[in-house]
Structure formats: structure tokens, C-alpha cells
Amino acid sequence: MRRVIQDIGYGVYVVLACLRLLPVVALRPEPFGYRRFLAAFVEVGLRPFPTLTLLAALIGIIVGVGVGEALTVLNFEVLLVESVRAIVLREFAPLLVGVLIAGRSGVLLTARLGTMALAEETDAILAMGADPLRHAVLPVLAAAMLLAPLITAWCGLTTIAFSAVAVEWNSNMSTPQFLEMMLTGDAGHAFLYGLGKSVVFAVLVVATATVHGTRLVRDASLLPRMATDTFTHAFLAILGVTALFLVLDTYNG
């Protein structure tokens, strides 16, 4: 229990330290920092893009087929489409992006921090009066915070587009009809809510990855375990925060 509290405390410290460093870095960039930011940008946003698009499309089809079948039996079009909208934009899209960032960028950051410690890179950075957080973590955090909402938006829209096509195949509702119902009402609010959540998830993943990555000092055999722990703990944190959001939403009506 003490370890968990220490880890959470360190995770909070990492996030606050990085956020405090953002304006400092903007004024005085780290040597070759732009390259690390670009690498993080590619890793967080570009590399997972095809997988994410495919996943969002497949889930859109699955949702669309389910909705289509329900529509042939029930006559609750508005209720059904509103439920799908809330689930896709508010919950599913940020969750999928959070899990994907945890599985790729989070695990990669843990592995990178671990190998940096083992290869004395972390010591060398400190020895040159630099800050390993600023050097290795900040570019990933900045890229993740910037890209998470963008890819969440893409993911949500892709899911809705494919579910619209699947609904048309499977029911009497046309694609334009489905899209119109889907993208009216509180769609804008749900969309922004999902984007905000994705930023929180991105921060959680980077903090979790940093806590695990910096735990490795000399023991290389811990690296695979730490990488796995990063994914499972980040996933757990994302689900925990999702539950917290739901509780707060219910409480606030």
C-alpha cells in the first residue's frame, strides 16, 4: 500500500514538474529536443494511426449492426441513437485512444527510461547538469497531450461513420438519417467531453510509464515486467478515472 501511495505521489510530481517545465522549454529549448518531440509525435500519433482507424471502423460496424438489429425490433430510434452517441463520443473513443497510447507510447517510454538508466544515459544527462525528465519525458507528454484529442476526434468520427453505414445495411434507417440524429442534440458537448478525457488519459499513461521506467536502475531483468506493469497499471488508472468521471457526472446530474 505504501508503495502504491509513493508511486502515485511520484506520478503526480512527474506531471506537475513536466507542466512547470513546458514554458521553460518553450523559452530555452533543450539541445536537440525538437528531434525527441518529433519522434514522440510520430510514435504517439502517426504509427498507431492505421491500427486505430481500423479498430474504430470495426467497432463502428459492430455497433452499427447491433443498432440496426435493435431498430428492426424496437421503435426507440432517438433513445437508441443518443445512447450510441454518448457511448462512442464520451466513453469509447477516449478509452480506445488511452489504451492504445498506454500499449504503445507508455510501454515504449518505460523501456526507453529503463535502457537509459542501464546504459548510464540518465547519469550522463544528470552529470551534464540537465534534467532527465525534461530530456526524455517532457517530449512524450507534450506530444501525447497535443495528439490525444486529435486522434480521439478521428476515432470517434470514424466509428460513427462506419456505424452509420452498418445501420443502413441492417435496418430501414438511412446513413444521412442516422448521422443527422447522431450529430445533433448534445453531440458537441459529448465530443468535447471525450476530447478532454483523452488528455487526462494521456497524462495518466505518461505518468505511469515514468514511474515504472525510473524504477529500473541496475537490474535489466526487470525491464519486461516494468513494461507490462506500465500497460496494466495505466489501463487500470484509465478505467478508474472513467468510473470517477461517471460518478461525478451522476452526482452533478
Binding site: P31, F32, R35, R36, A39, T115, M116, A119, E120, E121, D123, A124, I125, L126, A127, M128, G129, A130, D131
Partner: protein, 228 residues
């Protein structure tokens, strides 16, 4: 040891003890490095040499005693004070500690770009070129660390540690495991590149090297520092 550190003393360890995993790895170590002198601490593998360097650089915390750097007591110093002190040092680690995503030239330029008063791009380029030539690394300036031989990795680490002309240079067993030619080349490069006013602490397992390079020699045996 007196409370007041002589003005030429760059680093001093006072009664340093360190217990790690229930084992005493440094025991009542007293050591001072003055400007312009080369102190060589010779010791076998596992004697505690790397740990000694880490304590001086603030990368490991001693259980007892205190570290003084550039006239300041570092007990209780925060990360910013340590970072400022480390910018006045050049440190080369045993395995190089080169930044993996940077080329040889970028690794060497890094301390120049991290300096409090960053030199002009022209000055950086000039110092970098000089460092690359004197370390014999010009040909591999654009290579990444994994493309280098073990000797070249250490030469890069040495060049990076000395390029900003630090007041204090700490070298951790850079010569270990090299063949005779590479070790000799490294030694010559080290002697040629050293700033005569800088203090140097060279930690090594090689007795002959200690003999040739040292102004003052000490032996570290199982965490205890003795005379030559």
C-alpha cells in the same frame, strides 16, 4: 579536516561512508582534488571506484560524511544546486553513457549547449571541431553510438567530459578492457586534452596508468581509501 576548504580545492570528501543493501561499500573516505592536480584512485573491480565518483557527482547519496564542491557544502543541496555544480564538472562514465539517439558530434556538443552562458553557434562549432580532431573522432562525427567501437565510445565520452573545459574532470575507469593500442591512444588523448588548471580525478584499475598519469596516487580497497 578544517571547516574552511583551501581555495584551490575543487572537491573534497569528508568522512564519507556508504552502506548499500546492508554492506558497507565506502568507509570513512577522505579525499580532496585541487585545481591543476591529477589524483588517481586505483582499485580492483568492486572496490567502490564508480560509487566514489557517483558520490562526488551527487548521483549517489552517502550515508555519512559530507561532500564539498567548489567551496560549497553540498549536504542538503537541492537538485538545482547539484545541477549547477555538475555544469562545472566533466564526467565520463565507464561505459560511456553516450546519449543513444545523438551522433558523436551531438553528444560532444551537448555540454556546450547546456552551459549557463551558451556560447555562440560559431564558438560551439569551433570547440566541437577542435574536440573531434583532438579525440581522433572526426571521421565518425556523424555516427551513432551503437556504430562505434568500444574505444571510440570511450574517446567520445572523454571528449564530451572535457569539451567545455570544466574545472573538475571525473573519469571512471575509461581505460579498462581496452587493448594496449587503444588504451595508449586514450591515454595520449587524455593527456593532450586536459586543461592544466583543471583538477582531475581518475579512477582506474590499471596500476601502470596510475603510475604514469598521477600527481597523487591513492588505492581504494573494499571501500577504504589508502595511500599508494
Amino acid at each position: 579536516m578544517d571547516d574552511v576548504m583551501p581555495i584551490s580545492t575543487l572537491a573534497a570528501l569528508e568522512h564519507i561512508g556508504l552502506v548499500s543493501h546492508g554492506r558497507r561499500v565506502l568507509d570513512d573516505v577522505e579525499l580532496a582534488v585541487a585545481a591543476g592536480e591529477t589524483v588517481v584512485v586505483q582499485g580492483d573491480n568492486g572496490a567502490g571506484k564508480s560509487l566514489l565518483l557517483r558520490v562526488i557527482a551527487g548521483l549517489a547519496r552517502a550515508s555519512e560524511g559530507r561532500v564539498r564542491l567548489f567551496g560549497s557544502d553540498m549536504s542538503g543541496a537541492g537538485p538545482a544546486s547539484w545541477a549547477a555544480a555538475r555544469r562545472r564538472m566533466g564526467i565520463a562514465f565507464q561505459n560511456g553513457g553516450l546519449l543513444n539517439e545523438l551522433t558523436v558530434a551531438e553528444n560532444i556538443a551537448y555540454p556546450l549547449l547546456m552551459a549557463e552562458n551558451r556560447p555562440s553557434p560559431r564558438a560551439v562549432a569551433s570547440k566541437l571541431e577542435h574536440a573531434l580532431i583532438s579525440a581522433g573522432l572526426y571521421r565518425v562525427a556523424d555516427a551513432l553510438p551503437w556504430q562505434l567501437s568500444s574505444g571510440q565510445v570511450r574517446l567520445t565520452a572523454l571528449a564530451r567530459a572535457t569539451v567545455a573545459e570544466p574545472e573538475l574532470v571525473l573519469l571512471d575507469d575509461l581505460f579498462a578492457g581496452l587493448d594496449d593500442d587503444a588504451a595508449l591512444e586514450m591515454e595520449q588523448r587524455f593527456l593532450a586534452s586536459r586543461n592544466p588548471t583543471a583538477g582531475v580525478l581518475l579512477l582506474t584499475s590499471e596500476a601502470a596508468l596510475a603510475e604514469r598519469c598521477a600527481d597523487r596516487r591513492l588505492r581504494l580497497e573494499l571501500g577504504v581509501l589508502r595511500g599508494p
